[in-house]
Amino acid sequence: MLIAVLQRVQEKIGFLPEDAMKMIAERLSLSLNNVYGVASFYKHFHFKPRGKNIVKVCMGTACHVRGARSVLTEMEQQLGIKEGETTKDMSVTLETVGCVGCCALAPVVTINDKDLFGELTPRMVDDIINSVRSEHGTHV
């Protein structure tokens, strides 16, 4: 029950602010401690606001052996942020993910869990960032 509630709240707000967690705890008659404990256990929940676009670099085994690390480094350089951070204008959040299950196309990057780019090289990072910028009308 608790996890489903947290998921719905995060879907609406984009992250889990302290107030929201307090309210959830109150409504479900749980301690805030309990709610935070569960929320912080799972990777899916975030406590800080995230950017408009979420860029996820897959770090699965197949992606790793086919050079995901260099793709991530290039991403970090071009966006000027580290993994797990958000650009200052809140347009892009850069994250890594265990495996998206598209190992045949390794290395893989997903954008907003929807668009998927495969068989990448560091040189193609530029195109991806451009497409994020243009499609979603923001400037990084």
């Binding site: 029950m1 608790l2 996890i3 489903a4 947290l6 998921q7 404990g37 569960v38 256990f41 799972y42 990777k43 899916h44 929940f45 770090m59 699965g60 085994t61 197949a62 992606c63 790793h64 052996v65 086919r66 260099s70 993910v97 265990g98 495996c99 998206v100 299950g101 598209c102 190992c103 045949a104 196309l105 390794a106 893989v108 869990d113 668009d115 998927l116 780019f117 495969g118």
Partner: protein
């Protein structure tokens, strides 16, 4: 096209529907193409192909049936289109190919040669699916409907014998007979540990409680594995049917499918499948007119690898932190499972195998596989290999057949095969000397690896085994739930040592320390994550010890992957004097002379910038020697 549903009141209704659909299908004059809509093919643009096919058909006023199938397996060559009835296989189809493909192949049956499968660029094409080496040695039981049916259309599944197994058990068998069949079939859990499914069912049934649950484990967290995802996306009805048969056998009322939240398409397709099954009365009360009452709900995971462990998964379903707990009580015992109901938990692939065993019978099933591992196994074949994708092979096939016949050999033919990693973060690396080994649960265990859920990552000479071990530990380190200190602290410590070794700061005694710690972590952890987390390290030390020793003693990485290793030299005979290395070097270590470049060892930080930028592979990384070139 909107589907209409009429509740199936009894087994006869289902049978009639099946016959009717079969007949319509055989008599249909419509042209048919099957377009793969698995995640990988969607990423390469299969949805656009469908639009184009629809346009072409509308323009030419032809009745064209487009089947949006689940993963057809050959993800490397996506998007994949198969044209029926000739079963012509088209690979890497682009929107621009569709008009010609449609007019030549679909309308007139003349193969469109450009996008046919070719083993090599110049070899003759293979037209049909069954001629392609990738598919030839496969045996599809769990995946038999994957790639044939539209997962969002229950009638497709019923036409291809879907729910026939359920009808058979309801009409012909008592629950105990079903369990007996499952025990005799020798089906072992496909989640990794290989516990006999029939025994598990029997335990749950014997708990004696009235209310029981069936849980399907779709929390496929192993990096490099996507079997369960493809099954849930491509043929959700086989999973539902397996759960239904299970529920009938053990007398369960509630079913849950726990799906990883990174798999949105699987959640969607399962949801559609469950709703359609409900509308036909295949879920709910009085299923097919019997007294069976069972319903299934999807629960989305929230991202924790440890939730693949059964007790942790149940805790997560209950809304708690997904931490494993000591057993007993086992899930199958009273007060042990989900909300204290005795619970039978199996993997997605295990459930998908159940209907086939029931419909095809024991004689058929037990002939496939080895003595102790029956049936087939689905593998996700990935890494440095030519044909990557989803394969299903009979147990007992050799690694060589999988990698060189089905997989087509190495991605870069100039590089030698080094090892194959099976079982994900819990498994180990199997070196080349075991290539002729049979693949089954017990044989893999003898060489220090496991079957696992079925990830198979092929590594070549460019992969550093120490780096691979470090990669898996960085994964288990961050995924350890933190309950048992040996796992929480031990994996972290081991990671730190590996990190030091791969950065060129390894010390004497590090390898022994790793071995000792690995054994302690195994001994001191509660669940499968901790018990198996050191496996990648221990197995690589066992088979590739000299590589570890080179890293520690000579500060040299033979795969040239680790930074800060070896000494760098420019080979004048390969160098074309382009100067890119000089531009790339941030430390001014590349010195330009009138007729050559050289690397100043006093300045070089071994960051690999020059190595990766050189177009002619003129930069050589070798073991450090006493006479180093410097400006002085």
């Amino acid at each position: 096209m909107e589907l209409t549903f009429k509740r199936l009141e009894n087994v006869k209704d289902l049978d009639n529907l099946h016959k009717k659909l079969r007949k319509e299908h055989q008599e249909s004059t419509a042209h048919r193409v099957r377009v793969c809509c698995g995640t990988a093919c969607q990423a390469t643009g299969s949805l656009k192909l469908i639009d184009q096919f629809e346009k072409e058909a509308a323009q030419k006023q032809v009745n064209l049936e487009i089947v949006k199938t689940g993963c057809q397996g050959f993800c490397q060559r996506g998007p994949v289109v198969i044209q029926d009835p000739q079963e012509i296989f088209y690979q890497k189809v682009k929107v621009a190919d569709v008009p010609t493909l449609f007019s030549d192949s679909v309308l007139h049956g003349v193969p469109y040669r450009k996008q046919l499968y070719r083993e090599f660029a110049l070899s003759d094409p293979n037209e049909k699916v069954q001629d392609i080496p990738f598919y030839k040695k496969q045996k599809r039981l769990a995946l038999h409907r994957n790639g044939v049916v539209d997962p969002c259309n229950i009638y497709d599944a019923i036409r291809e014998d879907g729910y026939a197994g359920l009808a058979k058990v309801i009409t012909e068998m008592k629950p105990d007979e079903v369990i007996e069949i499952m025990k005799k079939s020798g089906l072992r859990g496909r989640g990794g540990a290989g516990f006999p499914a029939g025994l598990k069912w029997e335990h749950t049934k014997k708990s004696g409680a009235k209310i029981k649950a069936v849980v399907c484990n779709g929390d496929e967290g192993d990096p490099g594995a996507f079997m369960d995802r493809s099954l849930m996306e491509g043929d959700p009805h086989s999973v539902l049917e397996g759960m239904l048969i299970n529920a009938y056998a053990i007398g369960a009322q509630f079913g849950y499918i726990y799906v990883r939240h990174e798999y949105p398409l699987a959640v969607k397709n399962l949801g559609v499948a469950i709703n359609q099954a409900r509308s036909l009365g295949l879920l709910g009360k009085n299923i097919l007119g019997s007294s069976l009452e069972f319903d299934i709900e999807i629960k989305e995971g929230a991202g924790a690898f440890v939730c693949g462990e059964s007790t942790a998964l149940v805790a997560s379903l209950e809304g708690e932190r997904g931490m494993p707990r000591p057993r007993p009580p086992r899930l199958s015992e009273a007060a042990g499972g989900l909300w204290n109901m005795p619970t039978n938990l199996n993997n997605v692939e295990t459930f998908a195998n159940v209907p086939t065993i029931i419909t095809k019978g024991l004689d058929y099933y037990t002939k496939i596989g080895t003595e102790k591992s029956k049936g087939t196994k689905v593998f996700a074949l990935t890494g440095k290999i030519k044909n990557t994708g989803l394969i299903e092979v009979p147990m007992g096939i050799t690694l060589r057949e999988i990698i060189f016949d089905i997989g087509g050999g190495m991605l870069n033919p100039e590089r030698q095969f080094k090892a194959v990693q099976t079982g994900g973060p819990s498994g180990g690396c199997i070196p080349a000397q075991f290539l002729d080994m049979q693949v089954d649960f017990d044989t893999l265990a003898t060489v220090g690896s496991i079957m696992g859920s079925g990830g198979m990552v092929v590594l070549d000479e460019d992969d550093c085994m120490v780096d691979v071990a470090k990669f898996f530990l960085s994964f288990t380190k961050s995924e350890s739930c933190g309950k048992c200190p040996p796992c929480r602290v031990g994996t972290w410590q081991m990671y730190e040592i590996l990190d030091r070794i791969t950065a060129g700061r390894g010390e004497k005694g590090d390898i022994e320390r790793l071995e000792k710690m690995g054994k302690l972590v195994v001994a001191g952890s509660l669940c499968g994550l901790g018990n198996s987390a050191p496996n990648p390290v221990l197995s690589t030390i066992k088979y590739f010890r000299e590589e570890y020793e080179e890293h520690v003693n000579d500060k040299y990485c033979r795969a040239k992957r680790c930074q800060g290793m070896g000494s760098y030299r420019i080979l004048p005979e390969h160098c074309i004097l382009c100067g890119l290395c000089k531009q790339a070097c941030a430390f001014d270590a590349v010195v330009e002379l009138r007729d050559k470049f050289f690397i100043d060892q006093d300045y070089c930080t071994r960051c690999k910038a020059c190595y990766s930028v050189c177009p002619t592979e003129a930069i050589l990384i070798e073991k450090r020697s006493a006479h180093a070139e410097t400006r002085k």
